[in-house]
Amino acid sequence: MSELLIKNGYVIDPLNDIHGEIMDIAVRDGRIVESVGNAADIIDAHGMLTLPGGIDSHTHICGTKVNFGRYMSPEDMRAGRTTRKGDMHATSGFSVPTTYGNSYRYSRMGYTTLLEGAMAPMEARHTHEEFQYTPLQDCMANTLFDGNWQALEAIGNGDIKRLAGVLAWYLTASKGFAVKLTNPGGTEAWGFGNDVSCINDKIEHFNVSPREIITGMIEANEMLNLPHSVHLHCNNLGKPGNYLCTLDTYNSIPDLNEKRQSLYSTHVQFHSYGGTSWHDFCSKAEDIARSVNNKPQIVIDSGQVMFGKTTTMTADGPMEFNLYRLYHNKWSNHDVELETGSGIIPVLYRRKNLVNAVMWAIGLELALLVDSPWQCILATDNPNGAPFVKYPEVMALLMSKKYRDAEFATVDPATESRVSLPALDRELDWEEIAIATRAAQAKALGLVDYGKGHLGIGADADIAIYPIDVSSTDPTTDYETIINGFSTTDYTIKLGHVVSRKGTCSIDNSNRTFWVRPRVPDNYDMNHDPAFIDCFNKYYSMRMANYPVQEEYAVRNICIETEATL
């Protein structure tokens, strides 16, 4: 039995209505409890901001495409090297670091739970193997369904119950956590050299449109009673004028769940572009934010871009091809049999580049214009918009108008005519930041009941203690303090153990993988479905029996079982 008492912290816990109280937190055996005995270890958090452990609800840290990013960018491996120190392994890499690099740097910032944004089910083993070597965070992975032949066929036939059966089989087989759609239909069309222009184009062969895919998937997702909603990367990413497509998508989203959103729309910054070409490219964040404000069934993450070098990686193959034609840099493209694809390109976002500066402003505008922080999550789509180590800077930008103005003065002057950022006076407060970096994620992922994102009795003892004295810090002017404070915790506690102390991490082998296993009635169990088995045998290069990820790949795992209503 291990006991810990955190004394006198300045606690903000939005899910339990604690809005900044000086209080003690008691921990026993990895859970938060009412009280502990006198023998408990004591941490003095006097004058320190104490929050639930951070959650990143959309990041790319593990899996085949991240790894391909690593080996096509030796210059990136050169950029962030640290030597072995105590328990810590040597690490390297800046935008696509080694797994330990990711884990240490996230832990240093107080993050204890991560969602890998896109995992091709066929290549799930690699993701799970890397999860094991991300020792300081609980991880889970979105499973890609955007071009899944069996799913597309069910949608084409209008059989949503069968679609639910297909989703259930793949989620279970890949030990995935949620349904991810990346440019739905577009990646499948890309396999034949095409793309979709918006959500009403029909895809060859299956004769379905992205709109049908999205709504069908949402319906099936709710039939399976999964913790998380459909996780969508809209069509037309990164194209001027794509905001119309995004709005059109949002307008077709039904509200099917009382507890959480019905759609998680990710890296919306890349989907809020106006104009007809890069010459008249401008921000349409206001239109997007207005739409989100009117639709409680949608939660977005901002996909903030920050200046500097990074690597873009996504399952959206056609988009990466367009990027390649823009930059003429090295690139990779990949097709995953009956499922999806991917592409990777290193990029440099420059302050003096008008397009990049507008992108930077759009991310901030979204976060400031969406009224409820529960509906706009802070993320950079790591590493697509920026490596996650930039989060503290994003927080400071959102909390300080002064800092925004100072940064705005350094970007291309023409930016001013393309964006509304300088006119926005809103400054997020401590609680809103706490919501946008942990509580909203826990709620959106449906993990509140599993002890994530809050400090109530029985919750996981994932706690971040930042060296920020809220009473003496004015976030609107002391933005340096904000950046430094959020960059390195004094203590990051994971399941009751201190895993990072002022940036020095220790070994903690309590990381777990969350995955879902929806139970479906026998007539929708794809294990015994002749058409499903037949498709597998005909088109996959892998036998169906060898396909599911074995238990050995998820050593410590938490299986969330749900009962489908079909």
């Binding site: 096509m72 960018s73 030796p74 210059e75 990136d76 491996m77 050169r78 003429h328």
Partner: protein, 256 residues
């Protein structure tokens, strides 16, 4: 001031030693102790070199380091050098003059690979041959050497001036395969022969006074031009990557 460093006889002379501490700025002012690495072992520099200091220097430009003995496996000498002079009486190991920005390195013997990698300024003279990647970039980087001069009296290996982005490389002998590949800017002169020169070049000028074997077909022949005492054929390219580079060649042979 002269610092004479004589390599002691080594039990296993083929094990490389990383000696990035051997750079003139480290010998300015009071005497300090330095360490070098042999594999994962940290050694006092005096275990590897016999060091004699003549005089005293208070500015880097007054320091001259002379390296004697078998230094062919001593790596990273002159890394981040910003002034002064290093004279190597024999051969030198890999990565000599990495990132140097000023000063002179003179090598009486031959140099191993990565000579003057990513250098920004200064001068390197090598009286013997040099191995691969003279004045190049490093793995994955887009820009290599950005300034300074490298002169090689003998032959060089493959990929000389890879991703060259400034400065000048003069090779008096032959070059190997793919000199000036991915070149962005700067000047590359090869007085001997080479093969497949300047693939994917986007800028800069390369002159080959010998023969280019396996000439790349993606360069456009722009006719002949008088260059100094030579009449050379001018090529533009590499057109496969919208290149604006220029290639002057005495003789060339396309692949059969």
């Amino acid at each position: 001031m002269k610092v004479i460093m004589e390599v002691r006889e080594r039990h296993r002379p083929n094990l490389p030693i990383e000696a990035e501490c051997i750079v003139p700025k480290n010998f300015v002012g009071p005497e300090r102790t330095f360490y070098v690495w042999k594999g994962n072992k940290k050694l006092d520099i005096r275990d590897v070199f016999h060091i004699r200091r003549d005089g005293h220097a208070n500015s880097v430009d007054k320091v001259e380091i002379i390296i004697r003995g078998d230094s062919s496996h001593i790596k990273r000498i002159g890394e981040y050098m910003d002034g002064g002079r290093i004279t190597i009486e024999g051969d030198i190991g890999m990565h000599c003059g990495n990132f140097m920005s000023d000063g002179v390195i003179e090598i009486m013997g031959s140099a191993d690979s990565w000579l003057g990698r990513e250098m920004n300024g200064g001068k390197i003279i090598c009286h013997g041959d040099a191995a691969d990647y003279v004045g190049s970039g490093y793995r994955g980087e887009k820009r290599g050497m950005k300034g300074g001069t490298i002169e090689i009296m003998g032959d060089v290996g493959d990929f000389a001036g890879e991703t060259l982005a400034g400065g000048e490389i003069v090779i008096h002998g032959d070059a190997g395969d793919m000199p000036g590949v991915d070149m962005k800017d700067g000047i590359l002169v090869i007085r001997g022969d080479c093969s497949r020169a300047c693939g994917n070049m986007t800028g800069g000028t390369c002159t080959v006074l010998g023969t280019v074997h396996d000439m790349l077909p993606t360069f456009r022949n722009e006719g002949t031009e008088q260059r100094g005492e030579h009449v050379l054929t001018k090529f533009s390219g590499d057109h496969i990557s919208r290149g604006l580079g220029t290639l002057y060649i005495n003789n060339f042979k396309y692949m059969d």
